[in-house]
């Protein structure tokens, strides 16, 4: 099995993306390019379409129009592309009757990881769920489910990571784990796109910020240029 990872460049180019629900365009000819190695924070009001955008990128919903080019565009949609993508959404995506370890095992096998056991132990360890590994996911609290979701999404160490408000429900300890993990992940060959409502804590880590408004990306700047957009600064407000 030749590793395709070698040739994959984690660049995302979105061109003229439109998504309509009942003829109402949530995303309206949106264009955005995220270069390999970027850590882009996606902000926008409730209902702006952040989740919709991320789900389209993850291949979970189909856009009405427009195209998305990953890397140099050789790998088009399908299993080979999905191998390079990790996604953490609003919901936890687990089999409620299986234990944490069994769920991770299932995904590890679907991703055909070479060392399944190590990957699982590692995932449970870093998310601090070791002691709950044999407990059915059904009994997990919200924060525990979120931790497990993060572990699941990082299991196969994808080059493109899509996070939809990943800090939701995490306690102080887990927040620190995620911060650390994000710093470790943030490498030149990996692209991170993260929807967040209170991005202040992320600003030191992230490289770019994109503002989704009325179906379009109205601002997309490196963090260092933030001062150039007073509107964006105003929207972000004071750190909470």
């Amino acid at each position: 099995m030749a590793k395709q990872t070698l040739t994959f460049s984690a660049r995302i180019e979105i061109r003229g993306l439109t998504k309509r629900f009942h003829y109402h365009a949530i995303l309206d000819h949106l264009s955005l390019t995220i270069n390999e190695g970027d850590f882009c924070v996606l902000i926008g009001a409730n209902g702006a379409g952040k989740t919709t955008l991320l789900r389209i990128l993850a291949g979970l919903i189909h856009p009405t129009e427009g195209e998305i080019i990953f890397g140099s565009g050789q790998i088009t949609n399908g299993p080979n592309l999905r191998r390079h993508i990790g996604y953490v959404g609003h919901q936890s995506m687990f089999y409620q009757d299986l234990t944490a370890a069994e769920n991770l095992m299932h995904y590890a096998r679907l991703y055909r990881l070479s060392d399944v056991d190590k990957a699982i132990t590692n995932g449970l360890n870093t998310s601090g769920l070791d002691q709950y590994r044999n407990q059915p996911v059904r009994t997990f609290s919200r924060g525990m489910q979120q931790r497990l979701s993060l572990a699941r999404a990082m299991l196969h160490e994808p080059e493109i990571m899509l996070f939809d408000e990943p800090y939701t429900g995490l306690d102080q300890e887990a927040v620190q784990f995620l911060d650390k993990k994000l710093k470790a992940l943030n490498q030149p060959n990996r692209t991170i796109l993260m929807a967040a409502h209170r991005p202040h804590r992320l600003l030191p880590m992230a490289s770019h910020i994109a503002w989704l408004k009325a179906g379009k990306i109205v601002e997309h700047l490196p963090i260092s240029q933030l001062h150039k957009s007073p509107a964006l600064k105003r929207y972000l407000g004071a750190p909470a």
């Binding site: 629900f21 009942h22 003829y23 109402h24 189909h62 009405t64």
Partner: protein, 229 residues
Amino acid sequence: MDKKPALLVFLDILSVILVPAALVLIVFFTPVEAVMGPVQKVFYFHVSAAWAGMLGFILAAIAGGGYLITRRFPWDWLSLSAIEVGVVFGLIAILSGMVWARPIWNTWWVWDPRLTTTAIMQLIYLAYFILRSGLNTPEAQARLGAVYAIVGVVTVPLTFFSIRLFRTIHPVVIASGSGPAFRMTPRMQLAFFTSLFVFTILLIDLVWNRFRLARLQAKIQQEVSQNAR
């Protein structure tokens, strides 16, 4: 709303003329069948309606395929229209069959395979509407509706062949059936093929008009949702 294409106007007029014409042909031109009497004249519309209905369902499956390949809504509108019109024709076939059955079999309904498969085919396409109404977006309706229309079309040949598969009291005319068939005189054949033709024209006309209605509905919805915000 754009203007009706000339061909459609022509079809409209044609069907308005042809349906009464066929009726006249059936009532005055064909002989009264010896055994069954005048009721037998239901035959022409009965078979034609069933034929048109099945044609509609097959058309819907093809249009469904068209949608899945091209992902363009007009195909979906066509598929939906064909099923709606097909269901109406199917109902006409069943009702006219019932009218026929009443004097011939002395009952409105028997549990005969042909009758049952016809009714089941109707239910399949009623379920199609239930499926669509449970889906949230036009995209999902179109996509899943197309899959269902394609999978569902397998019952059409089954209904057609049911009289040939099972022992049944329902007559077989087309194909060299040996069952309780009746012979058609040349005059009967003329009227029969005429009404088949007329119903086919009627099907095309109705589906086309319904298709335009679907397009209009989509347009209105679009405008409404744009004005909403």
